[in-house]
Symmetry: C2
């Protein structure tokens, strides 16, 4: 609990004090005022978060955490749970979607086992930070104990801190865990208060009948466990998952280090909900990457008041949407850092 | 006219014959089917256009053409027309928005003078393909003669062909020309049949009163010149501009070479309207980059049946939206080229 408490104590509000000056600098660049739209907003936000006037987003790090979910026993997923470890090995060999997109934007991927149900083979790029061998089945018990919920968050913080020493200018979340859209939907329902039907989608591709079962399972889990929406750790322990806890830790640690944190898909956004429930100021450090096909994702963004950058019908997770969004955010900072001013370029200003 | 005719004769329909096979390959990659959404669509479209099974979008080229517009005499723009040549020099020094974003995605920018009102200083990176010293004032005369309209298109084709010899895997349009949103709005109204009010916006940032004047000027120009919406060259000569003609040429030349062509902002999309009016098959090669703040842009995309990739409140032109979109499209092709299959990665398929 000490690591979490220390981290929370270091999270400051982003106060917007550099906004006017940054806007003035953006307005002096050779373009009509505001004509680069959200790219300018991203530049201003990164300045506020990092307190650097010319932030460089060179070190881009995506945290892709894996864990298994006991709720798969209820038959809520289209893929067998063996896919969780198989995909971790795929990440380590560089063949997954996140590897391709991370390379594309020049990001490195940090892969960690927060709670895969089997012991994974050692690999120099794999961090083993196992909290358990998969969470419990939330339809029959708490997904984990409160101690394990805190441990998963603290493991995420520890991983972030270790990587922070190597340099992180901007971070992103990502995940892999068969069954984890069920947990994400449950978290979304509990925290936002929306209907289960509205926050539950087809995940990796279940049919209509399985979707009905998934909705029933989520209702059962919430009725049984009664998570307290105001207590983020309570929500995590009752209907969450170990990788979601780990990502909550990454978000909180990034906020404490004033590092912008790009939130990926629906499961990552559920971790963002828990982070905000624990410490509302962490929201100031978040950037919404994209809007997923999963219906709950839009609900989370609206609840958090964040507008996603991309809307490309994606629903893979792993950090894939965040990787692309990082590239766009970086473009925004380059506008601020590299464009010529009207004066320097000898360009006439507006009539 | 010969160069244009030859180019048109080489434009083939994109027949979709590789679609099923490409989809099968995409579905064999280690991700739930369709979970990378539009990234998969982009990959499939590039395969169809290029007829390469594993297209590499290494050589990315943005054609940024400049010209002046006689209609600025009517006081329809927020910036003085001197800004057109000033911005060309800014492009050549690498300080403009398009330079920053092109560098970000690894694209090269081809800068050409299609009709700036003054003689520009020679520069190794500047192509002088002047059709005239600015177009005529469309509120009082045809913007140009039919001969000059064809010449502007053929100059665009010639520039594309010259660059094609150096290698182009994907191309994009961009422009600079004080007054050219007035021309783009007029073209949009003529071709799509929408109301002038709906297709006319604040361009680089005019006030409400100037916007009213701009609308009046566009109505006057259309009533005076009576462009034939079915004759793309007639539309270009009566209410177009030299850079718009040049970009029309680039679009047609790219289509003839089976090179995907990313259409940038509102002015570029007006060139796309003219290209499609001249040769409807050219639409198959187009990719809609983004949706601009200019209200006419959405009207053009809907008319063409194209869905923009990005929506970031941008309205700068130059090719800036296209540059970012190129990066996203390239990410799609990398998915196809670099991701592991279920079999190769030893990942179990769907239950």
């Amino acid at each position: 609990m000490k690591l979490l408490k220390d981290t929370l104590s270091r999270i400051e509000k982003v106060d917007g004090s550099l906004g006017a000056e940054t806007q003035k600098r953006l307005d002096n660049l050779t373009k009509p005022q505001g004509s680069l739209g959200r790219l300018e907003d991203f530049a201003a936000q990164i300045v506020e978060i990092t307190r650097h006037q010319n932030p460089q987003l060179k070190n881009k790090v995506i945290f892709t955490f894996a864990a298994d979910h006991g709720v798969t026993q209820e038959g809520v997923s289209a893929f067998p749970k063996e896919v969780t470890p198989q995909m971790v090995y795929n990440f380590l060999r560089g063949g997954a979607g996140i590897n391709v997109l991370a390379r594309h934007v020049g990001a490195r991927v940090v892969i960690a086992d927060l709670g895969v149900a089997v012991d994974l083979d050692a690999h120099p790029q794999l961090l083993i930070k196992k909290v358990g061998y998969g969470s419990e089945n939330m339809a029959r018990a708490h997904a984990m104990t409160r101690e394990k919920a805190v441990e998963s968050i603290e493991n995420g913080i520890a991983i972030f801190e270790q990587e922070f020493k190597k340099g992180i200018d901007i971070a992103a979340t990502g995940e892999m865990g068969i069954g984890n859209t069920t947990a994400a939907s449950a978290i979304t329902v509990v925290v936002t208060g929306c209907d289960v039907e509205k926050a539950t989608g087809k995940g990796t591709g279940i049919d209509g009948k399985t979707l009905e079962k998934k909705i029933t399972v989520i209702k059962k889990a919430i009725n049984l466990n009664k998570p307290d929406p105001k207590d983020g750790i309570d929500v995590l322990m009752k209907v969450g998952g170990y990788e979601i806890g780990g990502l909550t830790g990454v978000i909180l640690a990034a906020s404490a280090r004033r590092v912008p944190i790009v939130i990926d898909g629906f499961i990552s956004s559920a971790a963002a909900l828990i982070a905000v429930a624990i410490e509302p100021k962490s929201k100031d450090y978040m950037i919404a990457s994209h809007c997923s096909v999963e219906p709950g994702h839009k609900i989370v963004w609206e609840y958090l008041g964040l507008t996603p950058i991309l809307d490309l019908n994606m629903r893979l997770g792993e950090g894939t949407g965040a990787a692309l969004a990082m590239g766009i955010v970086e473009a925004g900072t380059k506008i601020l850092n590299e464009m010529a001013t009207f004066e320097a370029a000898g360009v006439s200003e507006k009539n």
